[in-house]
């Protein structure tokens, strides 16, 4: 085994396989907690959408479906570049790893900036719940709940993206120093799992928030 990998082996593990397996299991257990963390809001969404369908449909039509679709495509693309980064950590050299990691980071920032545009748009249209909320549709009180959930869900999702971006930056630095090889690529795999999970959450957020009562 090359000395690089044994150097990266933590003292409590016996061999790199055990370390990778343990880290993967740990990350998936963490993702289970994240599923339930967002799950609480999905439960609130489900209850209120069943109770006030018109208000949710009217409010959802205020969201920009084009930006939503583009954003979904951007995030899926970032998932692709992320998985290619893991691929290149195993099979290709530092140059490929760094390019794919930076591509993922770039796509992530594009997603966040599009999100920023949408938030600014909502702010100008007085659709931010709270004192300044003005909604001319049928049932403003329950439309305000839709927007509360919209901002809570997409806000927490964006926060997870920012954390992901931070992890990607750290990963790029480690990759630039050549820390990863076919035998030791655990950190890349872990950040990839986290990033793909954030993409999966958006895959559900997009139809639930943007595509109600469009017909």
């Amino acid at each position: 085994m090359s000395d690089k990998s044994t150097a990266a082996l933590a003292h409590q593990f016996d061999d790199p396989e055990q370390q990778l397996e343990a880290s993967t299991l740990g990350m998936w257990a963490f993702l289970a907690t994240e599923i339930l963390f967002f799950g609480g809001m999905f439960a609130a969404y489900a209850v209120y959408r069943l109770a006030y369908p018109q208000a949710f449909a009217a409010a959802s039509n205020h969201l920009d479906i084009l930006l939503g679709t583009v954003n979904t495509a951007v995030l899926i693309a970032s998932s692709l570049t992320m998985v290619l980064a893991v691929y290149s950590a195993q099979f290709a050299g530092r140059r490929a790893q760094v390019t794919f990691l930076l591509a993922t980071l770039l796509l992530g920032t594009i997603f966040l900036s599009i999100k920023g545009v949408e938030y600014a748009h909502k702010f100008h249209e007085h659709l931010v719940p709270g004192a300044g909320f003005r909604f001319d549709g049928a049932d403003p009180r329950h439309a305000a709940i839709f927007f509360s959930l919209y901002f809570a869900m997409t806000g927490l999702h964006a926060l997870h993206m920012v954390i992901g971006a931070g992890l990607l930056i750290a990963l790029t630095v480690m990759s630039w120093r050549g820390r990863f090889s076919a035998v030791y690529y655990t950190p890349v795999e872990m950040v990839a799992l986290y990033w793909h999970f954030v993409d999966v959450i958006w895959i559900f957020l997009f139809p639930l928030l943007y595509l109600i009562g469009r017909h």
Partner: protein, 547 residues
């Protein structure tokens, strides 16, 4: 009273020259440690600190409840005190107590590992616990919070004018501490068991920690999100749970109890794990029904998630939902009953000595039985309509939490104290304090069952005169209980300095942790142990101590 006293440990069982306690000195070696044993001690110190804050709040309002009218404290202060008692005891003492202290120390040692799977995350979880604690203490110092530990809306989001957001932030942050500990334990137990340590040879303490970690993992995030939604609703005047703005307060109760009922199993399961270890050691007998106890730990963890609606029978939840939750609540009681019967059967034909850990274990079995059976009362729909939100409920969950979880924690602490510190605690004082705690506890909480059925609501600063006699009894019991808890604090600290040397295995107990010197070295084992026999193989002839 006990017929045969174990011989005091021969002097030559001195602790190894370099062990985990003196492996490093100074603040940095403790605050930046990655050793699971040191992190366990960090947790021990912090939760003891929080325990006495919660306890002080309890003593104060028990004094207030001596008289029907609110004369010692104003209603506002009383509300803040019971909220502090609830918050601190639940989130900052009971939930972390056994997993974070005994679990952190013992999980790697019991399965033959050098440390937990993610030592850095383990230290991070302690820091998160402390940061969360700081937030809650700030809220208390600034003026306290008076929403109860349940944060029911719309009171907590719209009508309370106390420090709800800071407290919510504290609870939100601390939740991640138990998530990370749970995650660490699950991966360690799956991936880092020594060769030969199959699932069916695991000590039952490990099964209990595994089941608890599953609940921590699958439940705590939902508490985090519901507390987060309360904080943003209160900060930005949103209407998610506030009916005046179109929200539904019952939805908050669903999200809150989805975690908070499994949380009571987070508190009791580890104590059950301790009891299995203590009963077998002090009756020197193999556990009766090993697989039944192991499986019932998992059954409790899973079924615990299907019953939360029994907290909401009278909250305008639909009748059908009430029927479903009541029906399922009956099933969750069965695994606990199976465990109690198996422990009692373990004592049969044993060779029992009345050391302090066993006194706590026997106390646990008795009080937990009463707590569990009264759980059947409150799961029965017609009875719960009458006793919901009364002192019957207070008595029920204190019998489980104080009679069960706290007795289990103290029993475990006494049982593994020689291993943690290398010193023995004073047996006489320990038995005395166990007795005081048992008497004080029953005098405090049994009258509350009667008070509850008579209809005295909980969280009342003032109450009608006819409830005074029982309240005075309860307050008297509370002061005895308070003294009972102080004594161990004193002699444990005393034993660290002056206690006789314990040696590797003062109780002649089975289990990998007892094959290491006390206090153990940082690496726990010189060479990786190899396990060949079942757990609690006490019938096998005494073998050499070195593993």
């Amino acid at each position: 009273m006990s017929p045969v006293v174990e011989p005091i440990i021969a002097p030559e069982n001195l602790p190894p020259r370099v062990n985990y306690l003196n492996a490093g000195y100074g603040i940095r070696s403790w605050l930046l440690t990655k050793d699971h044993k040191r992190i366990a001690l960090l947790y021990l110190a912090s939760i003891t600190f929080f325990f006495f804050i919660g306890g002080a709040a309890a003593v104060l309002f028990r004094l207030e409840l001596l008289t029907p009218q609110s004369d010692l404290l104003q209603a506002e202060t009383y509300n803040k005190l019971f909220t502090i008692h609830g918050l601190i005891m639940v989130f900052f003492f009971l939930i972390p107590s056994i997993p974070a202290v005994l679990g952190n120390f013992l999980v790697p040692m019991m399965i033959g590992a050098r440390d937990l799977a993610f030592p850095r995350i383990n230290l991070l979880s302690w820091y998160i616990f402390i940061i969360g604690g700081m937030f809650t203490l700030t809220a208390i110092i600034l003026g306290g919070v008076d929403t109860g530990w349940t944060f029911y809306t719309p009171y907590s989001t719209t009508y309370a004018n106390t420090y709800v957001i800071i407290t919510a932030a504290g609870v939100f942050i601390t939740g991640f501490s138990s998530i990370l500990t749970g995650l660490n334990f699950i991966v360690t137990i799956h991936k880092m068991r020594a060769p030969g340590m199959t699932w069916m040879r695991l000590p039952l303490f490990i099964w209990a920690q595994y089941a608890t970690s599953l609940i921590n993992l699958l439940g705590t995030p939902v508490l985090a999100i519901s507390i987060f939604l309360i904080a943003i609703e209160r900060a930005f005047r949103l209407g998610i749970f506030d009916p005046a703005l179109g929200g539904d307060p019952v939805l908050f109760q669903h999200l809150f109890w989805f975690y908070s009922h499994p949380a009571v199993y987070i508190m009791i399961l580890p104590a059950m794990g301790v009891i299995s270890e203590v009963i077998t050691c002090f009756s020197r007998k193999r556990i009766f029904g090993y697989s039944f106890i192991a499986v019932s730990s998992l059954a409790i963890a899973v079924l615990g998630f299907f019953v939360w609606g029994h907290h909401m029978f009278v909250s305008s939840q639909s009748i059908y939902a009430g029927l479903i939750f009541s029906f399922l609540s009956m099933f969750v009681a069965i695994p606990s009953a199976v465990k109690v019967f198996n422990w009692t059967a373990t004592l049969y034909k044993g060779s029992i000595i009345y050391q302090t850990p066993l006194l706590y274990a026997l106390g646990f079995i008795g009080l937990f039985t009463i707590g569990g059976l009264t759980g059947i009362f409150v799961a029965t729909l017609a009875i719960d309509v009458h006793v919901h939100d009364t002192y019957f409920i207070i008595a029920h969950f204190h019998y489980i939490m104080v009679g069960g979880a706290l007795m289990g924690y103290l029993g475990g602490l006494h049982f593994w104290w020689p291993k943690i510190t290398g010193r023995l605690y004073p047996e006489g004082w320990a038995r005395l304090s166990a007795l005081i705690i048992f008497v004080g506890f029953n005098l405090t909480f049994f009258p509350q069952f009667i008070l509850g059925y008579l209809g005295m609501p909980r969280r009342y600063a003032a109450y009608p005169d006819e409830f005074q006699v029982l309240n005075v009894m309860s307050s008297a019991g509370a002061s005895i209980l308070g003294i009972g808890y102080l004594i161990p604090m004193i002699y444990f600290i005393w034993s660290m300095r002056y206690g006789p040397l314990a040696g590797p295995n003062p109780w002649n107990a089975k289990g990998l942790e007892w094959t290491t010197p006390s206090p153990p070295t940082t690496e726990n084992f010189e060479h990786k142990p190899h396990i060949t026999e079942e757990a609690y193989a006490y019938e096998v002839k005494e073998e050499k101590v070195v593993g």
